[in-house]
Amino acid sequence: MTEEKKDSKRKQHIISKLLKATIKAVIFYGIYFVLSMFLTPISEIVPSFQQTVELFVMVYISLMIIGELTRGTVFQHFFNTAKVFFVMLYLIFSLKRGIINIPFQNISLMIDLRLFMAIAMLLSLLGLAKCMLQAINYLNEKAGEAHFSSL
């Protein structure tokens, strides 16, 4: 009987995690969907723009779902950190030092996104600091629990 209860609790826990992950992914995708409508004119000028953003959204959502599913374990922090690193590397590689040159017909278009990149990098570093604090906090709590259970 106790085992059955434990099993059902585990199942409920997994279902709630899945639900949370799904809701988060849907909300994130919804935000992307709304923003992508505003960015349609850019996609017309830069054909690869939509593919690049879609790849980013796909990987980010995947990491978000995995992070959510591993919630309550140390792996959650690994995936959260990986998510932050992914954002930073993606920005560095896709924005090419912040100055983007787009050839369009016989016009050369240059967009300077260095300020955006600098702010985004600072926010990513802040996110990284948050992940580190969360990991430290998690390990601290685990150590505390182990200490009290040994008493």
């Binding site: 923003l35 004119p41 016989n106 050369s108 240059m110 300077d112 996104l113 430290i136 906090n137």
Partner: protein
């Protein structure tokens, strides 16, 4: 520790949201900004400089102001030698406002012909490098640039001297008639004078003549210059020095041999 972590979470989420919404809306609002490049005009200034005027109409119906709007035109020859440059700058175009600005580029024709007589006698293509830059929402710098070529019409295109005719004037002098012809391909009417100096084979000046030029644009001009020269100084060959003097430019000598 949980409270600081939550505070960092809230702060980063807020800033990310603000940053993305601001940049996306700034770029999106560009679709409501209209640029109208009207018919360019070419004219001559009171200082006899050639002036290109390009009226630009900017209708900013976007969400944000546009900052540091500038248009730069650089004109150079085929080899990349700079001829002239002009810039127009507007510090701020407020949202909901319509602004019209005239972008001017001047070319000093006299200096141009002093640098090279090719511009005087040969049609050619000039390279134009056009750059339009601005700051979206006064924060995001963008720049569009393009190159195109512009035809240059020579005012003395295909300048040629016809068969020189000699007529006896008196016992000591001969009247030399030199037919001249050219096409005025320039955008302006050519009025002025042409002076011709005749030298014999030993580079001695033997005669000088002058004629008035009146060639409206895109017309063929044909006239002759008469010189009275001493018959003793005439040789079979020699050369002519041609000087042009108009309100826009002074040029010469163009050395043309004869035989």
């Amino acid at each position: 520790m949980k409270i600081p972590i939550r505070m960092i979470s809230i702060a980063t989420s807020f800033f990310w949201f603000f940053l993305i919404v601001f940049y996306v809306s700034a770029v999106y609002s560009m679709k409501d900004v209209q640029f109208g490049f009207e018919e360019p005009q070419t004219m001559l200034t009171s200082r006899n400089q050639m002036l290109f005027c390009l009226p630009i109409k900017i209708d900013n119906k976007g969400y944000y102001n546009i900052g540091s709007f500038n248009v730069t035109t650089k004109i150079s020859d085929k080899e990349g030698f700079p001829i002239t440059q002009g810039s127009t700058f507007i510090p701020v175009i407020e949202r909901g406002r319509q602004t019209t600005v005239t972008h001017n580029v001047t070319i000093n024709i006299d200096d141009l012909f002093q640098n090279s007589q090719d511009y005087l006698f040969n049609d050619m293509e000039l390279e134009v490098h056009e750059t339009v830059g601005m700051k979206l929402a006064e924060v995001i710098p963008i720049q569009a640039s393009t190159n195109f070529s512009m035809p240059w019409g020579a005012p003395l295109y295909n300048f040629t001297l016809g068969e020189i005719e000699y007529a006896i004037c008196n016992l000591t002098h001969v009247t030399v008639t030199i037919p001249i012809s050219f096409e005025n391909h320039a955008f302006f009417n050519l009025t002025g004078s042409l002076r011709m100096c005749m030298y014999n084979s030993t580079s001695v000046l033997i005669g000088e003549g002058q004629t008035r030029i009146e060639a409206p644009q895109n017309t063929f001009y044909q006239e002759h210059v008469e010189l009275t020269v001493p018959s003793i100084g005439i040789t079979e060959d020699g050369y002519l020095e041609v000087y042009f003097s108009t309100p826009f430019f002074n040029s010469g000598p163009a050395v043309i041999p004869y035989d």
